[in-house]
């Protein structure tokens, strides 16, 4: 069933809102605003009753698939369960209704939460100082790479114009480097899917500003030579940037700070269970080693021992400035903080332990049924691709992904990382049971059989949804991006 657009459900004169009467003395509009700036044509917004609006959006929600609907093994996105208490806590009036400019003395709870969360994030990553300002992972990357730029410039080292990025990296890495005015140098992965040390030695030099790395990388493999990598980059005068997208694999086991990374970003919406919201809001806190702390965005939350109060420190002359108004996605920070307190040190480590166990278990079951390009212990995610006999039937990864929808699962990340042909990147997370993993593996195995017996069923999948595969090329060629009244 299709749901009409909200505009098509509008009936002039209907209303869903309820406002008090204006109780201040009546004034002629034209005495408050000059005629020429008053809107002539009101915005054509829909007019509906309250129940109409509720039903419309309820219906839309039913056309969606979330973690609460079912298994969502989207690689590199860490679609773990989002605890409900987090939602309640972020909605407490003391958080949700606190104004960002209310006096600091009346915001000590919010400031303490920000301060404590920064400290906790520092401990987990082995860094010294955090900012909560960035609103998302990509925003964190932007912040972190700018910090590196500011550091080099401040030292008068202006030759450092290049950022080295592995070919397995997220697309945001090279886009971030460009946004920060750097040239991107791609480094090829070796046959084991890891950074090629010899290649790296050739690429680094006095123009190297930084190496951006995800560890474990997007193939789900731990960069075993990380210490050598860090030494090569540091010896050349560059810094190491840690893309924290895959932090869920190593909490309590290893810390980027100990591996030699100078700057780190987390995705609170991945590692710390805050909901993805259909594409946001997330949060991308950035942590640095002490020598980079002066460059963090301002303000930074500090504690004044003497006055025994938390405060915003704006007096940071070397700061890169602001990347966002106010202090970041505070409401998201409340959820992550609640989650971390629920789990504690042991719980966080167990989350990573089971995330890695689940990934390896699933990989083991699928071995022999799907091609596993990197046949070794993985971390929290792994890559598979269809076997040759399946591909010979004209089946692509996309067909398998779409068929998974009919089996009631969200497909994994597909066609990424770019270095594996027909890649499927599977990240089960720790919150899924063995039964779910078994059922998912069985679905993939059954689909494999279907591909051999009846490939058509895959080509036309999904069959169970109210819309099927779209012609996205035409949509992009002739874009219709808004509704218009006929």
């Amino acid at each position: 069933m299709k749901e009409k657009l909200i505009f098509e459900k509008s009936t002039p004169g209907r209303k869903a809102y309820s406002l008090p009467p204006i109780d201040t003395p009546e004034v002629e509009l034209t005495t408050l605003l000059p005629e020429e700036i008053i809107r002539q044509e009101p915005a054509q917004l829909p007019e509906l009753s309250e129940v109409d609006v509720v039903r419309h959006f309820t219906r839309l929600s039913q056309m969606n698939y979330g973690v609460d609907t079912g298994f969502y093994p989207l690689g590199s996105c860490t679609m773990k369960y989002n605890p409900k208490i987090n939602e309640n806590m972020s909605r407490l009036p003391g958080f949700a209704l606190a104004h960002p400019y209310q006096p600091e003395e009346l915001s000590q709870g919010a400031l303490k939460l920000m301060y404590d969360l920064s400290e906790i994030l520092s401990e987990i990553a082995g860094m010294d100082k955090f900012t909560l300002q960035p609103a998302a992972g990509a925003h964190g990357e932007f912040t972190g790479i700018l910090i590196i730029k500011a550091y080099h410039q401040h030292r008068g080292d202006k030759k450092r114009t290049k950022v080295i990025i592995p070919d397995s990296a997220h697309g945001t890495n090279p886009a971030t480097a460009s946004l920060c005015g750097f040239e991107t140098i791609e480094i090829k992965s070796n046959a084991h899917g890891l950074v090629d040390l010899e290649e790296l030695k050739k690429l680094v030099g006095e123009d190297t500003a930084a190496l951006m790395l995800t560890n474990p990388n997007t193939l789900g493999l731990f960069e075993k030579e990380i210490i050598a990598i860090a030494d090569i980059v540091h010896e050349a005068g560059g810094l190491l940037y840690y893309d924290g997208a895959n932090m869920n694999a190593i909490m309590g086991y290893a810390r980027p700070g100990d591996m030699g990374f100078d700057v780190v970003h987390y995705n609170l919406h991945k590692t710390f269970a805050t909901p993805h919201g259909g594409g946001g809001p997330g949060a991308g806190p950035v942590g640095v080693k002490q020598f980079l702390a002066p460059y963090l965005p301002k303000p930074v939350v500090e504690y004044d021992d003497e006055k025994q109060k938390y405060f915003f420190d704006y007096n940071r002359p070397h700061s890169i400035g602001r990347v966002k108004a106010f202090y970041g996605n505070f409401g998201v920070a409340v959820k992550a903080y609640t989650y971390i307190l629920a789990l504690g040190a042991a719980g966080l480590k167990e989350a990573s332990e089971i995330a890695v166990l689940n990934a390896n278990y699933l990989k083991t079951i699928l071995q022999g049924k799907y091609h596993v390009p990197f046949d070794q212990v993985c971390k929290h995610e792994f890559i598979i691709s269809p076997e040759k006999r399946v591909k010979e039937k004209g089946i692509k990864t996309l067909d398998i992904a779409k068929r998974l929808v009919d089996y009631g699962f969200h497909p994994p990340t597909v066609y990424f990382p770019l270095i594996v042909e027909e890649a499927m990147m599977i990240e089960p997370t720790e919150t899924e049971t063995q039964e779910t993993l078994d059922a998912f593996a069985q679905a993939l195995i059954d689909i494999c059989q279907e591909a051999l017996d009846n490939p058509e069923i895959l080509h036309n999948a999904p069959h169970s949804t109210h819309v099927s595969r779209f012609d996205e090329a035409t949509a992009a060629r002739k874009p219709i991006l808004r509704w218009k009244k006929n």
């Binding site: 605003l33 009036p93 400019y101 480590k349």
Partner: protein, 447 residues
Amino acid sequence: MRFVPHTLKEKEEMLKTIGITSTDELFRDIPEEIRLKKGLNLPTGLDEITLQKEIETLAGNNAHLNDYISFLGAGAYDHYRPSIIDHLLLRSEFYTAYTPYQPEISQGTLQAIFEFQTLICELTGMDVANASVYDGASALAEAVLMAVTQTRKNKVLISSTVHPEYREVVKTYAWPRGIEILELPYQEGLTDLSILDEHISQDVGAVVIQNPNFFGSIEKVKEIAELTHQHKALLIACVDPISLGLLEAPGNLGADIVVGEGQSLGLPVSFGGPYLGFMATREKYLRRLPGRIVGIAKDRLDREGFVLTLQAREQHIRREKASSNICSNQALCALAATIYLSTLGKQGMREVAMQCLTKSNYAKQILKEIEGVEVAFPQNYTFKEFVLKLSEPVSSVNQRLLKHKILGGLDLGKFYPELENHMLLCVTETRSREDIDLLKRVWEGVQ
């Protein structure tokens, strides 16, 4: 342990399937020297009852808008939030979903974004809008990058009447690209047209204004647009979406890119975030617009639906050549705004705007009767915020007000040293005449 469902027996079975005896074996690829030997130095996990008490205690240490009568705005506003918004946002098919990469099972999010884009176009009078970005400030910064790329001119003029924190964000984004940002001084609370005229040239790619501006004053948008276009620059207008219930759409006044903060559209102030930035522009600049965009597509059986489109601009395809590094939007916040605008509708948006205008002007009229208080920039039209000039420090007045559970306005001296003793006040539809009268009485010391 919380949120990990495995029983011991299941764990053993799984290890056996993998062919190992302990999960430690799964971490042996981490070199010994960097393996964390001791546990993380963090507290032990809390049960739900204790956890809730602990977090509630923290929340209890903050003032909030249910407990104080607030006249504080400056970019974060206390507006009416219909009850239905939160109920619908808590539909977990919405909030536990990821970016709608699989359109067949994401039509809910996609259709809501398509409706959001339409609503923003309607409000702003523009042709196209994106699915939203992080907040108003980053939307403004993205607009500056977009205008510079479009015009290939590296100089941008920004009025000092734009929110000071937004200007800081613009500068942060501009710095690595080598974009020259020139701040234009204001005159009597408005962008100084003669100074704009003096500085604008063929080298300027964009002129940036906020309307109503940071002081609440309504700018001469049309004149600024004409001056901007005479020099082939683009006009970027950062607007308050609530004001568009009454004020002429910026698209009809000559703006080329319209951005703004969408927090007023149904989101709580939440100590500064999460909010949402909206961005709209003319059709001809569509391919420069950053961020996610949803469009209509047809499926293989010719049924209409929605997909993420024009992705050739984006990072996961273009990598280092992308128009921005953004790979998300503030989808749930955009959903809140969509529900808000659908609830308020055509009449409601006008009514909210009318209330803000009327009540804030009432407040302006009666507060200037207080001894030592006068309206700064009195000749300007204001929408929901205005500036008062006091004969004493803003903090002393605010301290008195706080004792009566009133949050006074912003001390403008914080951002504009020359505006010491100037207070920026905000009055929205959530304030009653009684609140405003109380403010005056307490201020005067009558109560």
